[in-house]
């Protein structure tokens, strides 16, 4: 039937576009956070008339939550890339692909959610500090680092929303009745 085929093709196109969007968002988040580095020189003391300066570097590796953020987004973008590749190449494992894709999409959504929330709360701590624990805020000194981190977290949130949409589509595909293999007209024997 032409209508069913058109509907299926449209669904495939929609999923492909969503996956491309998720891949771009998570890849952007990975790259922006992985290249996030800022060095500032501060005057710490004055000996006589010459100021003594010390240069401090803020890197993403200094915070374990940001490291996890980079790893989670890298794995999610890799997963989306693999899925786009397998869709374009037409790889199909005769029915096992559907549950596998749905389960992997769910796992990626959970992984992305964990990564982005850890980094988001660490960023909130860096921006506001915590007066109860005497932790000073650092975003007033390292504005570029904080801005880039914020952009990466935003991109990852967008990727998370799109991944949720993809998961919904994958699960809905599982709900559809599976097409049973119909015997060919020539095989039906009339007794």
């Amino acid at each position: 039937m032409g209508e069913e085929e058109v509907g299926q093709k449209r669904q495939k196109a929609v999923v492909l576009v969503l996956r491309a969007a998720a891949f771009l968002a998570t890849a952007a988040a990975t790259i922006v956070m992985a290249l996030n580095k800022e060095t500032r020189t501060f005057v710490v003391a004055t000996v006589g008339t010459t100021p003594v300066t010390a240069s401090i570097t803020a890197k993403f590796q200094q915070t374990p939550a940001n490291v996890f953020f980079v790893i989670a987004n890298a794995m999610a973008s890799n997963h989306n890339l693999m899925m786009i590749g397998s869709d374009l190449l037409g790889l199909d494992y005769r029915g096992f692909k559907l549950p596998l894709v749905a389960i992997l999409d769910m796992l990626n959504a959970a992984l992305l959610s964990a990564g982005v929330h850890g980094a988001a709360f660490m960023a909130q701590l860096a921006k506001n500090g915590n007066s109860h624990a005497r932790w000073n805020e650092i975003c007033d000194k390292f504005q570029g680092y904080c801005n880039r981190g914020g952009i990466a977290i935003l991109a990852s949130y967008v990727g998370l929303l799109v991944t949720l949409g993809i998961t919904v589509v994958s699960i809905v595909k599982l709900l559809k009745p599976k097409p049973q293999p119909q015997p060919l007209a020539s095989e039906i024997e009339v007794p």
């Binding site: 959970a110 959610s113 850890g118 660490m122 932790w135």
Partner: protein, 165 residues
């Protein structure tokens, strides 16, 4: 497995998940301790000092209420597919809350020398151990909810094409 045995097993699993998230929320919310920095300045550490711990408590309270309401759903109802969707969404909520609380707790325990943040667990050891216990309970709740989601998908969506119709 007979149907009633399976239903009882699922009920028991949901009960375990409910108890785990309840323990996580209660233990985290009731943790407070008075400490002092350098013996001079005294302060009280509560869970509401950090938005991450507040998020953890709120997320676990939401999941506990949902888990309590789901226990009353009759097992023949068609709403179990909706329960699958809610299970999935709430599992992701639990994952995010544990990740956020763990990130802040790690800074509290080890500090961050690059940012000039000192570890605070030496002054408030009881608070730190209670928070750790709440995180462990939250993790147990997460694992049980993940298993429940896997089982719901297996029963409702038939991913391995076991049913013939």
């Amino acid at each position: 497995m007979a149907m009633s045995q399976r239903a009882t097993a699922i009920l028991a699993t949901r009960l375990i998940a409910l108890i785990a998230t309840l323990i996580a929320a209660v233990v985290m919310a009731s943790s407070h301790e008075k400490g002092s920095i350098f013996g001079a300045i005294s302060y009280e550490a509560k869970y509401s000092d950090t938005p991450a711990f507040k998020y953890f408590v709120i997320a676990n309270v939401v999941v506990t209420i949902y888990g309590f309401l789901v226990l009353f759903l009759p097992s023949e109802s068609q709403l179990w597919r909706l329960v699958l969707v809610f299970d999935l969404v709430l599992t992701m909520l639990l994952v995010s809350s544990i990740s956020a609380a763990l990130a802040i707790a790690q800074v509290g325990k080890k500090g961050n020398s690059h940012a000039g943040w000192l570890p605070v667990c030496n002054q408030i050891p009881k608070y730190c151990s209670q928070t750790t216990a709440a995180l462990v309970a939250g993790f147990v709740g997460l694992v049980v909810y993940f298993l429940l989601v896997c089982y719901s998908i297996h029963r409702d969506l038939d991913p391995f094409l076991v049913r013939k119709n």
